[in-house]
Homo-oligomer: 196 residues x 2
């Protein structure tokens, strides 16, 4: 791990500034792990990443190199400039106490990516109700076109795979190492990231 | 049109209270028209309908009778109790000035469902930045499971088709007669609704 690479411990989260023009590299160091990513305009945190605007403009649910991630104000926040995996999710909200209760009633409760993001973003003024659908790096959520059915499967990422996003405006980023068993094949692993 | 049935004129919107236990019937009077629906908790408008929570719990993007529409706090807001169509969208944000500019640069600009919802919901304290992905009644957005590609096609609804939703909490509802050519086959039509 180089000097500049940061680690997010298993089942935790981080928040940091990413200025316009900087790139964020999100790395899955061991493979088959998910990182939920949120972005807010540093100038006004009410401007936030929007799945609905992004999917509408991209005309696909499979976002990869060349696609822009838009805000709720229809402005580009991030551009995907490199992608080893090509399989990410932008349909689902971060896992939380409530989703754990729903999907894993037999497991000890955990605040999940939602709680980790809320805690990490609180110093920037972001509250729980301001957390929308996240861009879930490496998350593998196939949709059956005929029935609409969706599944949460283990990621297809292998050790060292990365996605690189370039900021189009000054941003506050929230990022996690996912806490939900289904999204990473039942194991909890770290996520690495690098700002350049 | 019965006494209790309200009309939303073409390319406009409305907002109103829907109390717990009441049902909202959204009717497509002429067929092939879309109605964008938003829901906020009347007790605290920071609690809002969430596509990401709903799709996660339903495990499908095709919501119909029996499905619950959840808030960002993981609480049921609405239950679909009847549905003539079975084809609605919960991926895309309401059309807006910006989406018109993107998809229809040759047409006169229009504030779209986004602007109509913002104007109708303003008296309830809802601002533009508080508008998330809407539940788009009758909107036909097939997703290709293999490629992820999505399309906006004319609705499959025919004249008089309806969807009925029962409130699980006291709500403020925003509802439109959609303004975007692609979502309704290029014609602008009214939407009817009834509260019971």
């Amino acid at each position: 791990m180089s000097v500049a690479t940061q680690e997010i411990a298993p089942r935790s989260g981080a928040a940091f500034r990413l200025d316009a023009g900087q790139t964020l590299t999100v790395i899955d160091p061991e493979g088959r792990q998910v990182a939920d990513l949120l972005a807010y305009s540093a100038a006004d945190i009410r401007e936030v990443i929007s799945s609905g605007r992004t999917l509408d403009y991209a005309e696909t649910i499979r976002l990869t190199t060349g696609h822009l991630l838009y805000s709720n104000r229809s402005r580009p926040m991030l551009e995907i400039v490199a992608d080893d995996v090509g399989c990410h999710d932008f349909l689902l909200t971060p896992c939380s106490y409530d989703t754990f209760h729903h999907f894993y009633p037999e497991l000890p409760p955990h605040r999940g990516c939602f709680g980790n993001l809320a805690a990490a973003l609180a110093p920037f003024g972001v509250t729980e109700d301001m957390i929308p659908v996240a861009f879930n790096c490496f998350m593998n959520v196939p949709v059956d076109g005929a029935t609409g059915r969706l599944e949460v499967l283990p990621p297809t990422s292998t050790a060292g795979d990365a996605i690189v996003l370039r900021a189009r405006m000054d941003l506050v980023i929230g990022l996690t190492a996912c806490s939900a068993p289904a999204s990473n094949g039942g194991s909890f692993k770290p996520i690495h990231y690098r700002i350049e």
